[in-house]
Symmetry: C2
DNA sequence: CCAAAAGTGTTGTGCATACACCCATGC
DNA sequence: GCATGGGTGTATGCACAACACTTTTGG
């Protein structure tokens, strides 16, 4: 059936994750999208920034591996986690034909299964003081450094998916705490989409979709009319997660 | 950075493809969706039907591997090919803990990167006489046998993606030859979606989207008003392929 | 002329945008 | 009372579904 000899041993498998959070550029400014990167401590691309990730454990689900790299980088559990794409072209690392062989090392071919995740922004601010080392840093997506491997393409694609999905699905609440005002939710949408939204229409959209329910409480201490607090409505649409495979039937 | 010891050597990588074609159930009936399966000739699941696929070649792109399994199964080149999902849960094969170890064989963990493809239906009918062996057969998606591994879930998911994408994108022409009538294109949509569509509105939708251009020719030999023939307009939207990573920048 | 499918016109409905306007609070 | 953001009402436009209607062919 196969028409080509194969040599599986030289293809290895890794899992990486593009982690998004929404946070303000400067304390007073409007929030925007940020993501954490790790600095590579060995060749290739030593010293450059890269997506968090690592090899897949032999007894570890793909999604578990993604959550693990996420925890290692941000000390958080993801509020949203979804597979993005499997990257496996032959030219992902420039060392293939050149340096690696010159060094006498085996030419390693890596296929990366990449996930994308959203994390609660408030928690990020607290945890980043504890967990962040020299080799982990957060960057605004509008001001990213040069990335290792093809990670620039991967981030670009993850951004495309995030922006797409925010428009047709209801995942933005994953950036927020368990209660939030509609203005906060709208600011998240605005940060992701990079444009301002009409507060009136946004309110109606969200309310008619039933993805949030009022808690009955209000924010206090404002110098204006205190807004209502809402909570995410967990009972609505698992379809929210969109392109994910259906739950499999139990094996006999 | 990683918090868990790993043993990569026991995870192997395969590529499989869900191949769709549209063809009539019976000569006179309305067309519906079909897909080719291969019969397994070794355990596990020996004798059961499974998706075409195989191990990834060491010097082979993922997409190339998918096209290869497609050619091996249908003797065709795909008119549409897109990555579907990477399946890698630990329970994909029921043999892991039991039979394999009892047999003294290593417990093999397989991660499958699955593609989905559309093939030209006319060509299928011709090629299937030549290429089809005892161990390859086409099945209607409404009447599938029990499948090996988690392939039933995979097919279900591929169907979901196909139906989704036909609605918001313009890929249905991939099932047809290079020229076709709007009625034929509509029948493809109907076969995929499983419901009938208003011919008038369908015509307007397609014409206003500019995805097809009239060839100027008409079908001959009909016993009624001869319909115009159209051709796919290649110049419109590469966005058509939708969730695919952007083209990567060349490496330095 | 008739049957059958191609192709066109017309109308209504739902939904998203734009924007005018009122409400509640702290100062 | 006034500034500020919370929250409501309403008109306009557009995409799409429904369906009546006309056109073109072979028999």
């Amino acid at each position: 059936m196969t028409t080509q000899p194969t040599d599986e041993a030289t293809v290895s498998l890794a899992v990486s994750t593009v982690i998004f959070a929404v946070r303000p550029d400067r304390p007073t400014a409007l929030p925007s999208l940020w993501l954490p990167l790790v600095r590579r401590i060995r060749p290739p691309f030593e010293g450059q920034w890269a997506l968090p990730g690592g090899p897949l454990g032999a007894r570890e689900d793909l999604e578990t591996a993604a959550a693990r790299t996420l925890a290692a980088t941000t000390a958080l559990t993801p509020s949203y986690l979804e597979q993005l794409y499997a990257f496996g072209t032959l030219d992902r690392s420039p060392l293939e034909e050149g340096v690696a062989q010159a060094l006498g090392e085996p030419v390693e071919r890596v296929v990366s299964i990449v996930y994308w995740a959203l994390v609660n922004s408030e928690e990020v601010i607290h945890s980043s003081e504890n967990a962040s080392s020299e080799n982990v840093a957060w960057f605004s997506v509008d001001d990213l450094p040069d990335l290792a491997f093809d990670h620039d393409v991967i981030v670009e694609y993850a951004l495309w998916r995030l922006r797409n999905k925010v428009e047709y699905s209801r995942i933005a609440h994953a950036f927020l705490g368990d209660t939030f005002t509609l203005a906060e939710l709208r600011e998240v949408h605005e940060a992701v989409l990079g444009r301002s939204l009409d507060p009136a229409n946004f309110r109606r959209q969200i309310e008619s979709s039933n993805v949030v329910v009022p808690t009955g409480k209000r924010v206090t201490g404002t110098s204006y009319r205190p807004p209502k607090l809402y909570r995410y409505n967990q009972s609505v649409d698992p379809l929210d997660r969109g392109p994910l495979p259906p739950v499999r039937k139990p094996l006999p």
